[in-house]
């Protein structure tokens, strides 16, 4: 009796479950933030495993052992990278070497190119001259801009080293995710309360379908755009078509800003290379055509033409992603927030469909026959 009385007196010290949940979530968020680099590495590895899983499943449907499939797949990818590198490396390294050599004089060359284009436009349309900046002011501004960028180079080099390390670790981790993922899931399912398994796995399957469809669509979209941009730039005779194509493809995962980054880089290269309006216009037309191709053909086929994020949410997610995880954070922020938004919408719709007291169901008008012959 005495113990129970003391217990009831101390009961107010125990917080309600909702507070415990909030504290636990806050603790988890803090842990994720502290170890964000490692979490990011795991996230990217899991994403790669997720993208490769359908290939493994196709082989599994032919009753081939998962271990063997995953090992052969990674050997094949390794061979493809080595083979592709063998053919592409000389060209790519030549592009990088040329770019590195010409980088210190980049500001001067850009200034010369802008000057040449201004002269060309000014000669044809004298009225346009009043919109152009004087050469001195432009030169000062360009110099100030490049001096500022030069200060960021050590940080960029540090990020580059981290990216090279990540490019080794991500395939390494994803190999184990892909190989052991099914057994881990199986052992988790066996420990999950039996009574809730049917509904919980059903929700998880729907989430998995949405996330898988979106990620694979995004990867396909990036690949299609990257290849199209590289081929288009090569046909136009623009320098560094492979680098610019790769940049355009990778940037396409960020809606609105991606095409500006990809197209802007190509226009910049074309400006310095040709110092004339016509080739720049061709590059702009190429990127506009790619954008139309993306909207009307690639997106509907790959991603399914579903709605993108609200522009304000998009900008906010890029800023937060960039602040938390740097360049990679900016790239993955939009897909991550889109996935969260879609999963949230799915859970909301499920709740709405299963809670007639909150959202009354409309009568579908379907008549169930009294018997079927």
């Amino acid at each position: 009796m005495r113990t129970s009385a003391a217990g009831s007196r101390l009961a107010w010290l125990i917080p309600p479950p909702s507070i415990i949940w909030i504290l636990a979530m806050a603790l988890l968020a803090a842990l994720v933030y502290v170890s964000r680099d490692f979490v990011l590495l795991l996230f990217l590895s899991a994403t790669l495993a997720y993208l490769l899983n359908p290939i493994v499943k196709v082989a599994e449907s032919a009753l081939i052992k998962r271990d063997a499939v995953v090992t052969v797949l990674y050997l094949a990818i390794g061979a493809a990278i080595v083979g592709g590198g063998y053919f592409l490396y000389p060209r790519l390294s030549a592009e990088i070497e040329t770019l590195t050599v010409s980088l210190p004089s980049f500001g001067e060359r850009l200034d010369e190119a802008i000057d040449a284009v201004q002269n060309e436009v000014g000669a044809q349309h004298p009225a346009a001259n009043r919109f152009f900046m004087s050469r001195e002011i432009r030169y000062q501004r360009l110099n100030a801009f490049f001096e500022q960028q030069a200060k960021d180079i050590p940080a960029l080099v540090g990020q580059l080293a981290a990216m090279i390390l990540a490019s080794v670790l991500i395939p390494f981790f994803s190999y184990f995710f892909l190989r052991d993922g099914r057994n881990t899931l199986q052992s988790f399912l066996d420990r999950f309360p039996a009574h809730y398994i049917e509904t919980s796995v059903a929700i998880w399957r729907e989430i998995d379908r949405i996330v898988g469809h979106y990620l694979r669509g995004l990867a396909l979209e990036g690949l299609a755009l990257g290849v199209s941009a590289a081929v288009g730039l090569w046909l136009l005779g623009v320098n560094y078509p492979l680098l610019l194509g790769a940049l355009s493809g990778a940037a396409s995962v960020v809606p609105y800003l991606g095409p500006i980054v990809g197209g802007g880089s190509a226009v910049l290269v074309a400006l310095i290379q040709f110092k004339s309006v016509a080739p720049i216009a061709k590059v702009v037309v190429l990127y506009l055509a790619l954008k139309f191709l993306d909207i009307f053909a690639i997106q509907p086929l790959a991603v399914g033409g579903e709605k993108e994020l609200h522009p304000m949410l998009l900008i906010a997610s890029i800023i937060v992603g960039g602040h938390a995880l740097g360049i990679i954070g900016m790239i993955i922020a939009v897909p991550a927030v889109t996935i969260v938004q879609r999963v949230g919408r799915l859970l909301y719709e499920r709740r709405r469909d299963h809670d007639p007291s909150v959202f009354p169901r409309s009568n579908t008008g379907v008549q169930i026959p009294p018997f079927v012959c």
């Binding site: 499943k57 599994e60 449907s61 032919a62 009753l63 081939i64 052992k65 998962r66 199986q186 399912l189 066996d190 039996a194 009574h195 398994i197 049917e198 509904t199 796995v201 059903a202 399957r205 729907e206 379908r209 299963h354 018997f371 079927v372």
Partner: protein, 166 residues
């Protein structure tokens, strides 16, 4: 060849719902299935809950029953190769009965969302499964009609006997 997967494909081949599917098609179906092991006495689903998946008995034994007030009405005991909960592939209406593992049991689950994927991606498989499912449902309906008809005949007979007697 993976012996574990081969065993599952051979078992699926014996399930009436998947009859007519080739080994290749069964392999494609198998990768859509989830596996879950149940302890003896564990509940698989409860009557009145929304159905989400079809269950196939891989090993062990399952009881299908319905609780009516205080009593438990037993419908069937299922062993390896049997299936239950097939209506979940059509809609997510509440289950009519409950299912419980009588002994340590392994089950394969086909979720409606995965079956919908099959309808989109592998029409030939989905059409065969749908065809088998329709046959099963037609069997249920015929049995129910025959049962109702017998009862009506019996009731009519009793009424006419009573009328004659009266």
């Amino acid at each position: 060849m993976d012996p574990r997967q081969l065993y599952r494909v051979q078992l699926l081949a014996k399930v009436p719902l998947f009859s007519g599917l080739s080994q290749r098609q069964l392999g494609k179906l198998l990768i859509k299935l989830f596996e879950r092991n149940y302890q003896a006495g564990e509940t698989i689903f409860v009557q009145g809950e929304a159905g989400k998946a079809l269950f196939i008995v891989l090993s062990g034994q399952v009881s299908i029953f319905r609780n009516n007030d205080e009593t438990e009405e037993h419908f069937a005991t299922l062993s390896a190769g049997s299936y239950f909960g097939e209506l979940a592939l059509i809609d997510d209406e509440p289950r009519f009965a409950s299912a419980r593992a009588d002994e340590p049991t392994g089950l394969l689950m086909l979720y409606k969302s995965d079956f919908d994927d099959l309808i989109e991606g592998h029409k030939a498989i989905a059409i065969k499964v749908m065809n088998n499912l329709l046959r099963t449902l037609a069997g249920y309906i015929r049995r129910a009609q025959s049962h109702a008809s017998n009862r009506n005949t019996l009731v009519t007979g009793v009424i006419s006997a009573k009328t004659k007697a009266g």
